[in-house]
């Protein structure tokens, strides 16, 4: 066995496990990957060695406890490259909507004894805590994204950044535009490409699980939604969703939160 194989780790923080499942759903490619690299920490798949030094650490999940903030710093110190996988790790995820509410009060409402629960009031992306080398967007990410990232980092070629918007993927696939055809409040015009425009292909509006595209004009799309007849609160909910804490979406959404409800 070749000892010089690159070493990788997969770490979990507050998340649903859906992004690491992209590894476990690789099928035979997972076995090939395990030949090409040494998987030193990936608790769900078997290997447990969280403090091992690695070439690439993949991070799933957001930071929402003081211990996790500390843990991600240790991971950073042990890793040559650190890659966030998915919305949770990259923008804080759906659970980051708590950042806009009183999380303490929420804890008390769910748990009879909130004092047992160490929790920060916020759910924050990994980049709020440590330097991130590469961000993979999506809720969940795809196996293709993971393999491409691994390859580019290990061969030191610049990683591919998706610059297009979901809108463009629709055009490539010749999907009927759901906003034009059905007046659906589709977030495709401001969402990073990468999924292959799955939702419009299923005749529904994109809800931006791949996060904001570069330079999204969220405000102008929000006004267009109002033009479609959505009340400000409904427009706010469109943006305050899976990637609601991403600054471009938070701004467009929160701006409308103050207005009277529909």
């Amino acid at each position: 066995m070749n000892n010089a194989r690159p070493r990788i780790a997969v770490h979990k923080f507050a998340s649903c496990d859906g992004c690491q499942l992209a590894f476990l759903n690789l099928g035979e490619d997972l076995l090939a990957l395990a030949q090409a690299v040494e998987i030193v920490h990936f608790a769900e798949a078997g290997p447990v060695d969280p403090d091992a030094a690695v070439d690439i650490a993949f991070i799933e999940g957001s930071i929402s406890t003081p211990e996790d903030a500390e843990r991600v710093r240790r991971v950073r110190a042990n890793s040559r490259y650190l890659v966030t996988v998915g919305a949770c790790a990259t923008s804080g995820g759906l659970q980051a909507l708590r950042n806009f509410a009183d999380a303490r009060e929420w804890l008390a409402a769910i748990y009879a004894k909130p004092e047992y629960i160490q929790s920060l009031a916020t759910s924050t992306p990994i980049s709020s805590h440590v330097k991130v080398d590469l961000e993979l967007w999506g809720c969940p990410v795809s196996g293709r994204q993971l393999l491409a990232a691994t390859r580019s980092l290990l061969f030191a070629v610049p990683p591919w950044y998706e610059k297009d918007k979901v809108c463009l993927e629709c055009k490539r696939h010749q999907n009927v535009c759901v906003m034009v055809a059905k007046g659906a409040p589709c977030l495709g015009p401001v969402t990073r490409a990468g999924c292959g425009a799955l939702c419009p292909a299923f005749r529904r509006d994109c809800y931006a699980c791949y996060g904001p595209a570069e330079n999204p004009n969220a405000e102008s799309l929000a006004r267009r939604f109002e033009g479609l007849g959505l009340m400000p609160e409904a427009v706010a909910r469109r943006f305050l969703f899976i990637n609601g804490a991403a600054p471009a979406f938070a701004e467009a959404g929160l701006k409308r939160r103050g207005k009277p409800h529909d």
């Binding site: 649903c16 859906g18 447990v48 909507l97 009879a112 629960i117 299923f202 529904r204």
Partner: protein, 435 residues
């Protein structure tokens, strides 16, 4: 005065479970005094996140609780909401939901059998290691997992957080040609799923009879997935809406997961409970297959869970093939619904057991309150009771590594999905001795 000596041991543990947790033991003079399966779910607080959202947003939100069983979360949610609104999506939607669920059972059970459980029985540390000596079995497992994912993709575009389900039905109906192609693939793989059942039953499964209360859904004709009444091996038989009158959740100091008890007692949900309570609802070819095994059901041996999972893969493959054979493209893939104020209840059989949900909704369709009771919190008290007796009978003098290995194996029988957990797994044994 008695001097207590505490030896805290801190070892990373519980590999190959979904999510991360800690097992803690306190041993005094060879006896386990305290045992805690700690699930640190840094609370993602979904129930509160749902408040104020529109009912139509619920399926896409609750999917994010668990990447391994998003279909289950979506299905319990749409049933809860539709029951309140009085919506009748009709037979096409009903069949497609069953098909969707078959995909999740096949995917989740295959993943658990091959990636999480089987390495235990074959002395490997992971599927990667197992692939060296058992390449054909691993390949078969990966193939079945992929087929489960294909079914979910047919109706949901992707297998994790599928985008196809909505209140009232599905956003889009599959084309006939796609349905036919998938049916052919499933039919070709059915013998492999049956071989998987025989393979699991031939594993060296420990003999370990235990007393437990099994809980599942029960349907008048079918092996339960989306519909039925809540029944137990001790005679419980209630409607899904009556869940709260018998099942109570409480919080333990050592866990952020709420624990659920039935009439104050631990209980089991999941494949073994389901099969024990619904053996007579197996399609007859599966019944014949089950009867031909050395492992018999109903069973009180938790190690038989792996065989129950494999049998359920065959149930799901056959159901999927049956539904796809009769597939016709509908006029519409969903029915429209109109909101109504009140409380709606839904309960479906997630791969790991019953997943119960309740939504309080106002007249405009906004969620006022939500309650979600996942299978893992229901199994938690049962898992702890099992761990205590298994580790005690193994003998606490066995040392940390042996305790840890056994503890992990016991836990894997339940396939806990600590989907929201983090904090990697430790085993902490605290030894108290008289000094």
């Amino acid at each position: 005065m008695t001097e207590k000596r505490e030896i805290p041991i801190h070892v990373p543990v519980l590999a190959r479970v979904e999510g991360e947790g800690t097992l803690e033991l306190r041993v005094r003079d060879g006896t386990i005094e305290e045992l805690r399966l700690r699930i640190f779910e840094p609370p993602r607080m979904f129930e509160k996140l749902l408040e104020g959202r529109d009912y139509a947003e619920v399926p896409d939100m609750v999917a994010r609780i668990c990447g391994i069983c998003p279909v289950a979360y979506q299905m319990s949610a749409v049933h809860a909401i539709e029951s309140l609104f009085g919506a009748q999506p009709g037979p096409w939607v009903r069949d497609m939901r069953r098909l969707f669920y078959c995909g999740e059972w096949i995917q989740s059970h295959s993943l658990h059998i091959h990636m999480l459980a089987a390495p235990d029985f074959l002395g490997s540390a992971s599927i990667v290691e197992m692939a060296r000596g058992h390449a054909a079995e691993v390949r078969r497992g990966l193939k079945l997992q992929a087929l489960g994912n294909d079914i979910i993709r047919l109706l949901g575009a992707r297998s994790v957080h599928p985008v196809g389900a909505r209140v009232g039905g599905f956003h889009r109906a599959p084309a006939r040609a796609q349905a036919d192609a998938l049916r052919e693939k499933l039919a070709a793989a059915l013998p492999e799923a049956e071989a998987l059942v025989r393979w699991t039953a031939a594993l060296d499964l420990p003999a370990d009879e235990q007393d437990f209360t099994a809980v599942s859904l029960r349907h008048p004709r079918e092996y339960p997935m989306n519909e039925g009444r809540l029944v137990s091996s001790r005679g419980l038989d209630i409607a899904v809406s009556e869940f709260e009158s018998r099942f109570v959740e409480h919080q333990e100091a050592h866990s952020t997961a709420l624990h659920s008890l039935l009439d104050g007692q631990p209980y089991l949900v999941g494949p073994l409970a389901r099969l024990n309570l619904n053996f007579d609802r197996l399609p007859s070819p599966v019944r014949t297959l089950a009867d031909s095994l050395d492992v018999k059901f109903p069973s009180r041996n938790m190690y038989h869970s792996i065989v129950a999972r494999a049998l359920e893969i065959v149930v799901a493959m056959r159901e999927a093939i049956r539904i796809l054979e009769a597939y016709e493209e509908p006029v519409s893939a969903y029915v429209g619904v109109s909101p109504r104020a009140g409380a709606g209840y839904g309960c479906t059989e997630a791969p790991r057991g019953i997943l119960w949900q309740r939504y309080d909704i106002d007249a405009t369709g906004k969620i006022a309150a939500a309650r979600i009771v996942p299978p893992t919190s229901q199994n938690q008290a049962r898992m702890e009771a099992d761990l205590r007796s298994s580790l005690q009978s193994l003998g606490t003098q066995q040392g940390e590594a042996a305790l840890r290995r056994r503890g992990e194996r016991v836990i894997r029988n339940y396939d806990p999905c600590i989907s929201c957990a983090t904090h990697f797994l430790d085993l902490r044994v605290r030894e108290l001795k008289h000094g």
